[in-house]
Subunit: 356 residues, 4 copies
């Protein structure tokens, strides 16, 4: 992918009818957010949700807060009638989607598929054995798949397969895309913390309450699999030193990028970079007042960005909800783009939607 100019809210909807959407593997945290967003979507209807574990049980069995809000029952994956669907969100684990999506395409499904795993994010198949310890079974699809960072990719409208970005990758790429556009090599020193929902719904040592609460735990230091994903977006002239860490909260990613720039940094120029690029982007909020806090982004579809400089170092902060802008709401953004609906439909109140 090459950085294009960031686009805004997309074209007006082509049709007033609602799209019938299915969510595959909808029992995890990301799946639950997809269900919640689609249930309230003005131009989409949640048609079916699958889960092997919860097949034939109500949605509330996996997502108690959705009881009384959604009437559906989980279907077994084999019971979904693809012909009734206009689009699919696939919330399978990494490594599963690369099996599932080719089968769906072979079955003749022709609506857009937004895949939330890492399985179609990389154009280079060699990344998979190197970073994910697996040979990709359908490398020909990697050319076809479109990387779904909607602020920076204008190929999403009409795409048949969209690879939804990773949560850290979304925040870091949105923060660094502007300096990267200058084509001047630089190093970005990033430290970022993520919430426990990023580890999924299955208990593990990383999410054991007595060890997670009141703690910060670094992991995969200088070795996180989002690094190649981010560099694929930004270009190889960027060096990324990335320290990820677990934070003691459930939702949200907060991080800082310290950029050593060759030559002086002009604060006004930096502000112009960001405001020009994201001024019309409905799901990015910018502030030249300083770095963002985490909390205002939680339960919202926004990535918040802010920056400051002392003239030599440029510090950019980013914050987002890992389950929303880092996963489910970005998938709905991509779904809207792919279907020709207003980009923030189902994510923001109508009153702030752009007029078509």
């Amino acid at each position: 992918m090459t950085l294009s100019s960031p686009t805004s809210t997309g074209p007006a909807p082509e049709t007033a009818e609602t799209a019938q959407v299915g969510v595959l593997h909808g029992a995890g945290y990301v799946g639950g957010e997809c269900i919640r967003l689609l249930a309230a979507h003005p131009h989409a209807t949640l048609h079916a949700v699958t889960s092997r574990t919860f097949a034939d049980q109500p949605i509330g069995a996996a997502h108690p807060s959705l009881q009384g809000q959604v009437d559906h029952t989980f279907a077994a994956p084999s019971d979904v009638n693809l012909e009734a669907l206009d689009a699919l969100l696939v919330a399978a684990e990494h490594g599963q989607s690369m099996q599932v999506v080719p089968e769906i395409l072979e079955a003749g499904f022709d609506g857009p598929i937004v895949d939330l795993s890492a399985d179609f994010r990389f154009s280079d198949p060699a990344i998979y054995p190197e970073w994910f310890d697996v040979e990709h079974p359908a490398p020909e699809l990697l050319d076809e798949a479109v990387y779904g960072l909607p602020e920076w990719n204008d190929q999403i409208a009409g795409a048949s397969l969209v690879a939804n970005p990773g949560c850290y990758a979304t925040g870091i790429a949105l923060a660094l895309a502007l300096p990267a556009r200058n084509d001047v090599p630089f190093t970005a020193h990033v430290t970022a913390l993520t919430g426990a929902s990023g580890s999924g719904a299955t208990p593990s040592a990383a999410t054991h309450f007595p060890d997670r609460a009141d703690n910060v735990r670094p992991y995969k230091v200088l070795d996180h699999q989002h690094t190649p994903e981010i560099l694929q977006v930004l270009g190889e002239h960027v060096t990324l030193d990335f320290v990820p860490a677990s934070g003691p909260w459930t939702r949200g990613i907060w991080g800082t990028a310290q950029i050593e720039w060759s030559g002086d940094v002009d604060p006004d120029a930096v502000t112009a970079w960001y405001e020009d690029a994201y001024g019309e982007a409905p799901c990015v909020r910018c502030s030249s007042d300083g770095l963002p806090s985490l909390q205002p982004t939680v339960d919202t579809p926004f990535c918040d960005l802010g920056w400051t400089t002392d003239g030599s170092v440029l510090v950019v902060g980013f914050a987002l909800d890992n389950l929303l802008k880092g996963a489910a709401s970005q998938a709905v953004q991509n779904l809207n783009r792919a279907l020709g609906l207003p980009e923030p439909a189902g994510l923001l109140p109508r009153s702030v939607l752009p007029t078509p």
Copy 2:
């Protein structure tokens, strides 16, 4: 108020037009939730929001997460044009509403007012000097005001002044209304914990992080001002021993009521009480499987209820979001009722709304 049969989702909307709604004193946590709900309401338009402190500033100045979601600016209270409004939500502090609401009525405002303070909850004016240390300046309005517990009051439709219940009172009254309907005297031993948002947006000793986190702190033991409010709903044949406590979270109330019943408790009869009463209530979720947890109710408009018995004691659990079913979403329920809109409009996805 006398317990009527709980009603369900209200009549169909009389009109397809959207109501113009104002939020007075909208800078606090409850006000923020009112704004958020109204911004997404399918049959209402957020027309104006007032704040003395934040007058002429954008909504995001008080509510950072709403930046980008709501375009409004806070108005000074004196700058609101009441004639442009069809309805009002008043989120003033206790003691302020009793000053503000009479002025609004004197100015000729004739749409429904939902007041979220305690100032119009009591039919007996003597409660105010006893429990709130203030003489009520407009006691004649106490007769006019309708207590807005929508599951138990069928006088809300068409009311001009609705007193929105307290947060604890909502949970405890919904939990105990069924045993209370039998007109058999009983004692309910209630222990309930509330989140820090219940103390409002102004820092205080009760919300100081080092003292609130990892702590439970009882307060106003056997002396909470919601006790007379609850007994006004349930009747004086109920004895309520209420221990409220501060819990280490931001949103939500969780509690248990242990009821010593004269004679044996028939589990099936109890289940029938609750399911008959709340089966059609859109914002109450019942479970005969056991007591509810807190988390599934947070960020939802539901009060969850569950019960269990060993044949002699009846234990009823309740959980709700203090800012939503305990305040703002219940206010919207009342607004909907008063305006003749579907009761859960703006609170639940259309797909689960009852068919008109």
Copy 3:
């Protein structure tokens, strides 16, 4: 066990030498606290700690905060030389101790053993199949074992086998022992919340951070295995209705007991009950000012008690650290008693220790 008068801090130490103490199964949270307390004990030396999982690894491998504070290495259970030990703390899981302790006794170990599991708490062997789903393999030891609630049992000094009480049981029994001493039947309605460390160091659904944080989850309502333990202390004239719940913190139990008393409750008499009973108890703090908060007890060896009444209902609150007064520090209290050391040695600064 029959309620004796609560005793205070025990006799003066018989000897200035330090006791050599072993901790069996020391890799869990309770084991870690035992290690920490013994390492700082003025009259005891931590001689050996066992763990099958961590055998031959340093203590810090299981307890990172103890790295640099304790020099020991975990030993395999079979490698401990019992002859070198004067006393044992056994921190095995329920069901393990009933296998391990008889073997130790058969091997001729004659120092005091404090067992922290439930395996020797009940004098009636029939409790084990009913509540723990296991036949006790050594029922004859149940007569020999002494229940280690030091404030209410004067048989601990010189005991060879002490059964350390459960965490909830400690708080509830200390709170209700005074009303129970009157031999008047009453019902106590108890709601209590516990921290995630009570579920142990192994991840599980109950301790999964996204589900535990910002949540309260009731469990084993009216069916907790501490109920028969508490009634064994208090007597069968007490009826206990107990609702336990999981709270969103790591350490500590907080609860309320609402007691319906036959006849009026005299506040001064109640205060006298508690102050007379616990005035000299070094690890119970009483307050007639109201119910206790949780936080002041965390990381301390105290159970805090407070009470209030409106003349008819008596409300008693209790709070304690489940890993300390609910487990490890109480075990050290019992160890001290059994060895003839000052009861709070190793738990409180010397300056507040009672003069021998």
Copy 4:
């Protein structure tokens, strides 16, 4: 101050008698920790604690957890008999100590004073108007005061006035002192988060629970007053870009330093730097296995350090309890040094104390 070789645990105590120590302004969080540590100190006696607010009240009035552990009553500052004291810990706010300490010295007090504020940390008086907005009233004392970073200053033994370092400064200086010793200019990009206890015991917007929980909030970005303090330790050849942030916990600082090194980084050489320097330091724990987590340092007197490199960037992580190694336990380390006691006396169990 110039970096000397880090020293270890200090000389053996000169006397078996215990020092009489006073804590001035002991009602805050740091004061509470000083009290707790001194109460358990084997070679010191807590003689007096002052507080204007809590004068004549028991210690437990300000520090509920210390009730039952400490028998003292707060004294008014004017009621302290300095002649009875061998040493003082001053836990006053920044700006207060520069008034109080000169008065104490004028009164002829000749024992060591460890001041925990910033008021004597800088040798250059010009720092005070620039960073603290105050002219220093006793600049002559700045020459006399010794900067109390015990791992890097061998002037503490016998000092009369020790300036205890800041909490961030302790962690960052310990992390960066090794690269700084090479006298090669480098830039360190630091992001660090601190707990709410760092803001003190008075409620404020920064510690309001609903805004602090589940949040990260950056503040004083590239403008924190610990920056000149750190550079005074490291030397002006180091450039420090420091982003501090508020984390959602009560105790502890966790941070990363990313260092751009001129030339390649040899991992083994780095490990040797740290292990050689801190191998004998009782309150620094090093790991070449990776960056430290926060939790193992909380409630301990340690600063944990770890590092990793990919050959070009060097990442050093640090973690410490802001109230202990960042304040009170470091003050006790300094007190021990000044008095000639073993450095970790009162901080670590005897069993791991170095043999004199």
